[in-house]
């Protein structure tokens, strides 16, 4: 199976994206999906998005990108975490 690339972004590329990156990695490990996670700032998404399968962000992505963007605030609040993991896995499977 191909290695998929996921871009995880937040305002700083340090704070909340670290939490989300861990969650995405964990969900993918469980499903046996091989992923390469790039953690960055929201402003850098445009640079990293080409070649990626998915963008997962905790903040607004202002620049238009060609790949699906999933808002991952749920991983921070703990509300709807499983639903969020499921959507991310689905987006990566096809």
């Amino acid at each position: 199976m191909n290695r998929k690339r996921v871009v995880v972004a937040c305002g700083t590329g340090i704070a909340t994206s670290t939490v989300v990156a861990e969650k995405v990695a964990e969900a993918c490990r469980r499903e046996g999906i091989d992923v390469d996670i790039i953690q960055c700032k929201a402003t850098e998404v445009a640079t990293h998005a080409p070649g990626a399968s998915l963008v997962v962000a905790t903040t607004t992505i202002a620049t238009p990108v060609s790949v699906p963007v999933i808002n991952a605030i749920g991983f921070l609040t703990g509300v709807g975490e499983e639903e969020l993991s499921r959507r991310i896995i689905e987006a990566l499977k096809d």
Partner: protein, 416 residues
């Protein structure tokens, strides 16, 4: 108590892992996970120390040379929030800030004086920072802890009051932002915005965010910003071409590496923070409340980014022309989005207004961070960071220029 003294003498890189380990166990983490979390924090702390060394060691002499050549008195180095956060967590107040902050939140939730459940434990460092400065200023640990608690309470109230506009503006239902730095500018922004509303012509001005991002994008890239500033300072300091280029690359390194080190602190804190979140959520099941998050979820908005891009060169200019300022802005030029991200919803995304308000906040902030420089430096030394003797003092914008921190610091002096 020799035991306590022994633990304090271990220094932050050993003491913090111990504290996190104990806290992890208290929140029901497995010993292995808690231990790993603790060690990760210790490693992050050592890493931050190395980068601060690089910053003060190379930028310090350049700043001094510049002062000698031009008489521009910018000899207080802005080490940036990553260093300030490390200093805060390494302080005596930092050692207890997580339980204290949680307790304040619990009590306020139980007495229904707040609607915010703050699960952003990482940003408790802002409260610890206030506490650390107060302790340095008064010599009293209890005053520092009290200041941290009051700071936490005020931030919760500010988060409550701003929750609705923030939820609408950023599209984040159920969220509030109890962020120690961002929320502190709300009390400044509200009256200033009301004032602008009364000025004809000015109240109708707005700016185009897309154009700003296109033209000023370089100010949003910390590494390139570091390189440019390093080279500019080298030239101002009268360095040779070789030395100037070396300073440029060193400063690019500082800007890139500092946040990477802080990421380790975040990673280490994460298991504890998740366990605390689960505990709080269970405790308050069925209650309607806002979940308090890091304002990092808001800084990606075009209005915040555009404002911050404009404010980077403006901050540098203000640093030179504001009389009495001694802060050389550097590390926290990348932090400006956090200063403005809670101003943006108040001015409804009008970038012109948030730039105006941001300029006022930064002008005042430069003077505040200058005035706390000696305390900031003392706190860094107390945290066993290597500040070369006789070198320039250090300070920061986050949170050395934080108006709430400054006000609490002045109030605490009354109890001396």
């Amino acid at each position: 108590m020799p035991v306590i003294q022994f633990i304090l003498d271990l220094g932050a890189s050993v003491m913090l892992p111990l504290i996190i380990f104990v806290m992890g166990i208290a929140f029901g983490l497995k010993a292995g996970r808690a231990f790993r979390a603790g060690v990760t924090i210790g490693v992050g702390f050592v890493g931050i120390g190395l980068v601060i060394g690089l910053l003060t060691g190379s930028l310090g002499p350049a700043a001094q040379a510049m002062v000698e050549r031009f008489g521009i008195q910018l000899n207080v180095l802005d080490v940036g929030w990553p260093a300030a956060a490390a200093i805060a967590f390494a302080s005596q107040v930092g050692a207890v800030v997580i339980p204290v902050g949680l307790l304040v939140n619990l009590v306020m939730l139980l007495t229904r004086t707040t609607q915010t459940l703050n699960i952003d434990l990482w940003n408790f460092w802002h409260f610890a920072f206030t506490g650390a400065l107060v302790t340095e200023a008064t010599g009293k640990l209890w005053l520092g802890v009290a200041a941290a608690a009051v700071n936490a309470a005020i931030i919760l109230k500010l988060a409550d009051w701003t929750a609705k506009p923030i939820q609408e503006f950023y599209g984040v239902p159920g969220i509030s932002l109890p962020h120690g730095l961002s929320a502190a500018y709300v009390p400044i922004a509200i009256p200033l915005n009301a004032l602008i509303d009364r000025i004809p012509v000015v109240r109708d001005i707005d700016l185009d965010t897309a154009k700003i991002q296109q033209r000023l994008g370089v100010f949003g890239d910390p590494m390139m910003l570091g390189l440019l500033l390093g080279i500019a300072l080298g030239l101002l300091a009268g360095y040779s071409v070789q030395e100037t280029l070396q300073l440029g690359v060193s400063m690019a390194a500082v800007m890139l590496l500092m946040p990477r080190m802080v990421r380790l602190l975040m990673e280490g804190l994460m298991p504890v923070s998740e366990a605390a979140r689960e505990y709080l959520r269970r405790r308050f099941q069925g209650r309607e409340f806002y979940i308090g998050l890091d304002s990092a979820v808001a800084v990606g908005h075009p209005a915040s980014i555009a404002t911050a891009l404009i404010l980077v060169p403006v901050t540098l200019l203000l640093a030179v022309i504001v009389p009495g300022n001694r802060l050389l802005p550097f590390g926290d030029l990348a932090t400006i989005p956090f200063v403005v991200c809670m101003i943006a919803p108040i001015v409804r995304g009008n970038v012109f207004r948030s730039v105006l308000i941001g300029m006022v906040a930064i002008t005042v902030g430069l003077l505040m961070s200058t005035s706390v420089a000696s305390l900031h430096t003392a706190a860094a030394i107390a945290a066993q960071f290597d500040i070369p003797a006789g070198a320039a003092e250090i300070s920061s914008i986050g949170d050395g220029a934080n108006p709430l921190t400054w006000v609490l610091l002045q109030l605490s002096r009354l109890f001396q």
